[in-house]
């Protein structure tokens, strides 16, 4: 970030993050299919007899067991794949969910009137422009607040002179502050 004008212009979610997520998903699903293959391989790799009758009976006897074998294999695959994908989702998406949660806390603190500090996310978090634009907004509010207070304190300096001048300057300062605040809509 080079200055306030450039705040929040970076990418919200980096392409590298998306590609990394897709790559991990690919490895995850490939692992799941690999496990399914191993289970089915061991279930179907029993040697067949050498004669026609033996082969016929072995294959005919396999048919009733095929459905439960497949059902259990697919169930194991689904459980393992769902578990690993859930872990992957939590691990990868926390780089978006974490900053969102952090920003929610800061917004709640802001509304409660607590001291508002500048926000920064972890180095490898996504949605960094959110923190930058929030800081930009709070920075603008701080600058405006200081200017309004400076205008009022400048008017107070005239109170060292006579009462009428003091009052006129203060009223003028109030009008200036009210006019300056008109940009907020």
């Amino acid at each position: 970030m080079s200055g306030p004008g450039a705040a929040g212009n970076g990418p919200l979610i980096h392409r590298r993050y998306v590609l990394g997520l897709l790559l991990r998903l690919c490895v995850n699903f490939a692992g799941g299919v690999g496990i399914l293959f191993v289970i089915l391989y061991f279930a179907l790799s029993r040697s067949l007899p050498a004669d026609y009758e033996g082969v016929f009976h072995a294959l005919r006897n396999l048919s009733p067991f095929l459905r439960p074998i497949l059902a259990i294999s697919v169930l194991v695959y689904a459980i393992l794949a769902c578990g690993s994908t859930s872990a992957l989702c939590v691990y990868i998406l926390h780089k978006v969910a974490g900053p969102l949660y952090r920003m929610e806390l800061i917004l709640d603190q802001y509304r409660s009137g607590a001291h508002t500090r500048t926000v920064s996310f972890r180095h490898d978090d996504q949605i960094q422009p959110l923190a930058q634009t929030f800081n930009l907004w709070i920075g603008a509010l701080h600058r405006d607040r200081h200017r309004w207070l400076a205008t009022m304190m400048n008017a107070e300096r005239h109170c060292l002179q006579d009462e009428a001048t003091c009052r006129a300057e203060m009223e003028e300062a109030l009008r200036k502050v009210a006019e300056d605040m008109a940009r907020y809509r």
Binding site: S63, Y110, F134
Partner: protein, 184 residues
């Protein structure tokens, strides 16, 4: 001696946000289970057919049932992988697009706030967590706008009031305090 009370408080980091990660996890589970169910249905019917045919013909050339269905199984496993991965990729891209859209709106809203626009709704989108987040931003902006408008109206009123100096001074000091409370 260390004084824990003096250490700066580190903001807590939450790794699990059920509102954001939950729907994604559920959607992936639906894809995996649907893929598995389709695989089971297709492979079951194909294997039953192939084994019946093989039993009648007598496949002496094959050592095991796996050898009979090797290619068929490979194709179905490849289909399962490609199907689940493609559907998962589409889901990831949709999720990223929705996040980019929602957070993009929040960023635009905060940038507009820095320019003084505190009333245009953020409109972050329909994903639960992003929608809620947009409402929080709007609430913070509304809170600021209400404070500023109230101070502005009181400042204008005080400037034109013509009240007694003692009362004027009291209200002047009160106004200063209220300005100090904007983004403290």
């Amino acid at each position: 001696m260390r004084k824990p009370a003096l250490q700066p408080s580190r903001p807590s980091i939450r790794y699990v946000s059920p509102r954001y990660q939950g729907p994604a996890v559920l959607a992936f589970a639906v894809i995996i289970v649907t893929g598995g169910a389709i695989f089971w249905k297709l492979v079951d019917s194909a294997f039953q057919r192939v084994f019946l045919r093989a039993a009648i013909r007598g496949h002496y050339a094959f050592d095991s049932a796996y050898d009979i269905v090797r290619d068929l199984l490979a194709w179905h496993l490849a289909g399962l992988f490609v199907g689940v991965f493609l559907a998962g990729s589409v889901l990831v891209l949709l999720l990223i697009a929705a996040t980019r859209h929602g957070i993009g709106k929040a960023v635009a809203s905060l940038r507009a706030s820095a320019d003084g626009d505190l009333s245009t709704p953020t409109g972050t989108g329909s994903i639960g967590e992003l929608d809620r987040f947009g409402k929080k931003i709007d609430a913070a902006r509304s809170y600021t706008l209400a404070s500023v408008l109230e101070i502005r109206s009181d400042a204008a009123a005080l400037a034109a009031s013509g009240i007694a100096p003692e009362e004027f001074r009291l209200r002047w000091d009160e106004l200063k305090q209220r300005i100090r409370r904007i983004a403290p």
